[in-house]
Amino acid sequence: MIRDHFRALVVDLSARKGKITTHDGRDEVVGGSGLAAFLFDRYGHTDRSWQDPDQPLIFAIGPLTGYFPLMSKTVCAFKSPYHDQYAESHAGGRSALSLKFANLDALVIVGKAPTPVCLAVGAHHLDIQDVHFLWGKNVKSTGKQLRRMFPGSGHRSILRIGPAGEIGTAMAGINVDTYRHFGRLGGGAVMGVKNIKGIVIEGDDMFELPAGKEYQKLFQNVYDQLTTTDMMKKYHDLGTPANIAVLNDLKALPCRNLQQTSDPQIKGITGETFAEETLLRNQACSGCPIGCIHLGYVRERFHKDHRYYFSQVSYDHEPIFATGAMLGVTHGFAVLGIIDEIEEMGLDVMSAGVALAWATEATENGIISDKETIVSLRFGDAKIYRQAVRHLGNGANDFYRRLGAGTLRAAGHYGGADYACVLGQEMAGYATGEAFYTAQSLGFRHSHLDSGGYSYDQKHDKKDVRKAVDFLIADEQDRALLTSMVACLFARKVYTPTHLAECLNSLGYTAIADNLETIKQQIQQKRWQLRLASGYQPEAVVIPRRFTELTNWKGKTDGDYLKALKNAYAQYIKIIGARA
């Protein structure tokens, strides 16, 4: 499916019909992030609520998806229940290749089903099935049922939500193929509000490859770089949890709701400990030989006799930081138990962990009590956190529903905003300094992957506002280009602009290859335009006081530098988004 246009399936749940649509613009918006913005512009409404049935839920892939290794991600775009603005979330699993082999550049879902449904699509079928009997079921049991109900085993992707998505909490993610997620900014709630319990994408088509040897040679070259050099060792070996010990040593690991930046008990949850004690096996996204998905296990005794069940749980740096370090839980299996509970509820793990960390400190400070939290939250008490996760996922009372809308929302009601660890959304696991706090607070996805602020902090001591902001803007552009292809950002060192151009040329996308500089600026601009049009005010973003009180290996946060960075970055965003 090398084509100079886009082919999308637009499904209207209200009408129970779908339509194949074609769109020009390949050379301008490429795919992935660019295509999602393009389609939101076409089908979305910046001025209406995220809950409006007409709002689209978009899944988009890119021109290199499947054609090259690690081009294995899908971009999901929607109006977010977290901030009611345009948003993106990214995931892998089998989703990208399933869309590719369903012969679709994008799947766009509008409308609202009258009863809970599962949408099944493929190259040759579209099916909207009533699944009211699955409503209320957790992510795992939903997955099991959907596997039985729909065809395509082994060559399909199953997306589904848990109770958190059904009740519309802004911390609800979309589970992808059990171990991956469109986790952040509430995509799960968007499915829930449309009454979509699951989406099954079957990849049952195939495509001709370019004639000649150029493509085959280039594929081999890229594959060799990824598999025969040390470039991907970090992801392949310990995986991202290798960061836990490193950041702890730097005093840059958020611990106990960021009351600390290191933990003397950290050894229990380092990447090394997880690998040695809990790692069961690895898994990969389709089209990626790295196998960065690390699966640990939870083994629990459920009867006084020796009766056990076990569960496999994927872990990474971010889930470990959020449910381990932030909650003072420093035992690997206990951390996996909390993550497992979060998975069943269909919550975003980073958001849930950080929110419960705030709730624990708020409890210690007497702002809230068991009356709100139902259970007595205590740092280090994994058992209690597992119960709290269920309350959060089910929206058990007003408190948990407020917390599910965002920690700052809850803090707005109960107090304690100064120590809400929120950088645009619940923070990622890096207390590296001013560039990161700025990057996540203001960044497009409020993700640590929007730009390398955490890396900039570690490499630059000089406080040069202009230089730092220039870096963030340029890095964001580069990453937006990669997420338009759609590459896994772990491969960013391989897919340099030169390499990307070669890959695009080998498939005949010469106009894109020749204009990467212009295109990446356009994509960045388009995304910011939508975000600003949907109400984003970067200058109004507040970085909570906790971040200005932090001390890491570089010393205490420089409040003036942070403020200057934030103001400058906000200005840039507004300028970029205002360009015609």
Binding site: L97, T178, G203, D205, L209, R281, I290
Partner: protein, 146 residues
């Protein structure tokens, strides 16, 4: 002649690199299905993976089932397929007891030709080319009974 085997599938991570390599290098396709080796989960992604590929039968039921002679017995096990003789009847796929033959939407069959080009793409060494059992038993026989 050597045959493709999948002796270490418990190591498989489901990356599909083998299927994609076969489709790309042998069949000139971008596909995870149009390949002589297809990777399936064994009942959901938490249960690991299995490979659907030719087990190098000799005699091969697909050869017997093929009504036009497109399939013929490969020396050492497996089959040789002449696609210009194939009438897309699908009998080969139906005859295969282990679902090793994939039929595309036009009925074109894809089956392993035991070329081994998928092997280097497996990051966990799940796949291996070995001497076919007939040949290896002959070799073993020579060693044991010189």
């Amino acid at each position: 002649m050597k045959i493709l085997t999948t002796p270490r599938m418990e190591r498989c991570i489901g990356c599909n690199s083998c299927s994609l390599a076969c489709a790309r290098l042998v069949h000139g396709r971008l596909s995870w299905l149009a390949a002589g080796i297809r990777i399936m989960s064994t009942g959901g992604l938490s249960t690991g993976f299995d490979a659907r590929s030719c087990l190098a039968c000799d005699p091969a039921p697909c050869v017997e089932a093929c009504p036009t002679g497109a399939y013929s017995q490969r020396k050492g096990g497996g089959v040789v397929v002449k696609k210009n003789l194939c009438i897309r009847c699908g009998d080969c796929a139906h005859a295969c007891p282990v679902d090793a033959v994939y039929l595309d939407n036009t009925g074109e069959p894809y089956v392993c030709i035991h070329c081994g080009r998928c092997v280097p793409f497996c990051p966990h060494d799940c796949l291996e080319m070995i001497a076919s059992s007939k040949e290896s038993s002959a070799e073993d026989a020579e060693e044991v009974f010189p």
